[in-house]
């Protein structure tokens, strides 16, 4: 019957007495741990997806939206830009731009985005090897990100019709043209690439040209995919002026009648002042806009940071209140146990032992609260992860344990100790004789 077991027995003897403190403590710890996890994982996703992109060029609109849509694939496009205007930036000889990757968005397969781009996207921006098959070569060939392949159970050789927009509502299937054919599956990269289906830019154009050729049946009504409808944001790259398919293939840069959604840019030199001027020039002198991912993400983080700071302060208040609650329950339990403590002194327990006994009870409470809190936070994170993956097409996990959680443990034990110290002093001062005589 060592002290540790005795304090455990004391706590479990009347579990209800300590339950409120325990729940409060677990809630506070859980909330803090959950915030830490979300913060860390979101930050990680944002950072890994920055991928050294210095500038995103797209249609005018919200710069944050441009970044979220074209780098993180969680918002709608701001519109399209004609290749005619974007040509200078796609030119490999541009003095400031080392790399420019065009993106064409607007279609999905089972709500996973199909992105029309070039091989540079997987060579340089999100370096990824294929676990199966090969990179797309011809039109209508797609390579599939790891998560998409896993969730939709896709294999090389699968055929599918893409759907219009970003939401899988089962209505806007491009079921009139050719089917996409899966030719490759990417390895998991931990970046947004896992959530995408990649093809060449021309395929995206082709899907819509094809439909324009045949046109929707005249009696199709509103349910049919109508290319003159007005959700431009959903589907920014319509090419209504497309002529009949032209077999002789032009370079992308020469398709001056066509549109892309955006261009991801890496500078030759980040520190060159002319690079910095490039964005301003585009914004002031063209119909396009240029946004800097690092800057926009910092802005977003600082906006979210306010709410997060508030929540964190709330969590800290909960923890402090629960510390007070531990203090009060220990103190009131001492009143009932005065005789017991005096008896222990009679049986040979020193003052120091009684002090230790009560401190141990406080520490144990804090430890149990901490364990419950951490468990809650990870279960909560796992639930959130499922939800966030559905909503944002991002993978999060509830089972990432962090170093911060160790610090949280130290802090939790510290609070348990502080809450127990006054009751412990009180216990160690128990006067044997008066206590025994009083009762």
């Amino acid at each position: 019957m060592n002290l540790f077991r005795l304090s455990w027995k004391n706590l479990t003897y009347k579990p209800l007495a300590m339950l409120l403190s325990l729940i409060l403590f677990a809630l506070g710890v859980g909330l803090i741990a959950l915030l830490l996890q979300i913060n860390q994982q979101v930050q990680e996703k944002f950072e890994s997806n920055l991928a050294g992109i210095d500038l995103v060029i797209g249609a005018k609109g919200s710069p944050l939206q441009l970044i979220l849509c074209n780098m993180y694939h969680i918002d709608s496009p701001t519109g399209n830009i004609p290749i005619k205007s974007a040509r200078p930036f796609l030119n490999p000889k541009h003095p400031l731009i080392r790399m420019a990757v065009p993106l064409s968005l607007g279609d999905n397969h089972k709500s996973y985005r199909i992105v029309g781009t070039t091989h540079t996207f997987v060579d340089s921006i999100y370096p990824a090897d294929l676990v199966e098959g090969q990179l797309w070569q011809a039109d209508m060939e797609v390579c599939v990100g790891a998560t998409v392949a896993e969730k939709l159970n896709m294999k090389v050789g699968d055929l599918f019709h893409s759907a219009h927009g970003f939401v899988d509502d089962g209505m806007n299937i491009h079921d009139q043209g050719d089917k996409f054919k899966v030719v490759g599956i990417f390895e998991p990269t931990g970046t947004v690439l896992d959530q995408l289906l990649l093809t060449n830019t021309q395929s995206i154009w082709a899907v819509h040209e094809h439909e324009d050729d045949k046109g929707p049946p005249a009696n199709a009504g509103a349910q049919e995919h109508n290319h003159d409808h007005d959700h431009e944001n959903d589907h920014a790259h319509h090419d209504h002026d497309a002529a009949a398919p032209a077999p002789p293939r032009k370079a992308l840069i020469d398709e001056i009648d066509k549109d892309v959604t955006s261009i991801l840019v890496r500078y030759r030199s980040k520190s060159n002042w002319r690079s910095l001027n490039l964005a301003r020039n585009i914004n002031e002198n063209t119909d396009m806009q240029a946004a800097t991912p690092a800057f926009e993400m910092a802005r977003l983080t600082s906006m979210m940071g306010t709410g997060e700071a508030l929540l964190r302060q709330l969590a800290i208040i909960i923890v402090i209140v629960s510390g007070l609650s531990i203090f009060i329950s220990l103190f009131s339990s001492l009143k009932e146990r005065r005789y017991e403590l005096a008896l222990m002194r009679v049986m040979g327990a020193t003052r120091e032992r009684l002090f230790l006994l009560i401190v141990l009870e406080g520490l144990l409470l804090a430890l149990i609260g901490y364990v419950i809190g951490i468990l809650l936070s990870h279960i909560g994170m796992q639930i959130l992860a499922v939800y966030m993956e559905d909503a944002y097409r991002y993978s999060f996990s509830g089972w990432n344990f962090m170093q911060e959680e160790l610090w949280l443990l130290v802090a939790a034990l510290g609070i348990g100790f502080l809450a127990a110290i006054l009751p412990a002093i009180q216990a160690s001062r128990t006067d044997i004789s008066t206590t025994l005589t009083d009762s």
């Binding site: 005795l6 027995k9 222990m344 049986m347 040979g348 025994l436």
Partner: protein, 215 residues
């Protein structure tokens, strides 16, 4: 075994209680009689080292209690003095066996299950080994209290009004148990009581008279 000299005690600095000198040899059984308010319990607490006297000295097994530091006194008490109180209290979160184990451990001994079983069976409550203490009857609780006082084989057993709450039958039983067990363990027994029923059961008696001096 137990020896006191010129023991006085004061509660408030004004009233001084004076106690007769006590001298009990090893293995002897003594009765300390006194009316309520004569300072019986105070004397017992002084003898058990639970209180410090104003003057005088208590010697148990050759050790002067006044010369021990607080923690040494706690340890000494756990090892050499067993105390049975008027009403029995135990650590409520622990069962019978665990309460006795705790008593062994707090006195710095290694918990011994055979010792616990032996004592409980001698006191006829071995079937209560894993019962919670608040489920015991009053008689059983009193026996357990005796077991706890004896568990570490102390040289001195002090009992504070062990029979005052009991009827005649239980009273006899408890006294017999205390006498018998103390003899078996070769411990010196001192019972403090105002219970007249015990008067004729003991040879050695000290009668406490009101000896209160006002300063």
């Amino acid at each position: 075994m137990l020896q006191t000299q010129n023991l006085t005690f004061t509660y408030d600095g004004n009233t001084v209680l004076q106690f007769p000198d006590i001298h009990c040899r090893k293995g002897e059984q003594w009765l300390l009689l006194g009316q309520s308010g004569s300072g019986k319990t105070t004397l017992l607490h002084l003898l058990g080292g639970l209180r410090t006297p104003r003057q005088g000295d208590v010697q148990v097994a050759g050790t002067s209690l006044g010369q021990l530091r607080s923690s040494e006194l706690d340890r000494f008490r756990g090892q050499h003095i067993g105390i049975v109180f008027q009403t029995s209290h135990f650590v409520r979160a622990l069962n019978v066996e665990e309460n006795l184990m705790l008593a062994q451990q707090l006195a710095g001994q290694i918990p011994s299950r055979p010792r616990i079983e032996e004592l409980l069976s001698r006191l006829n409550i071995s079937h209560k080994l894993s019962a919670m203490t608040d489920s015991l009857s009053q008689g059983e609780q009193q026996r357990l209290a005796i077991a706890r006082a004896l568990i570490n084989r102390p040289g001195l057993i002090l009992a504070d009004e062990p029979t005052s709450a009991l009827d005649d039958k239980n009273c006899d039983e408890v006294i017999q148990l205390l006498e018998g067990q103390a003899r078996e363990e070769e411990a010196t027994l001192l019972i403090v009581t105002h219970d007249g029923r015990l008067k004729d059961k003991f040879q050695h008696k000290i009668v406490l008279e009101d000896k209160i001096t006002r300063l």
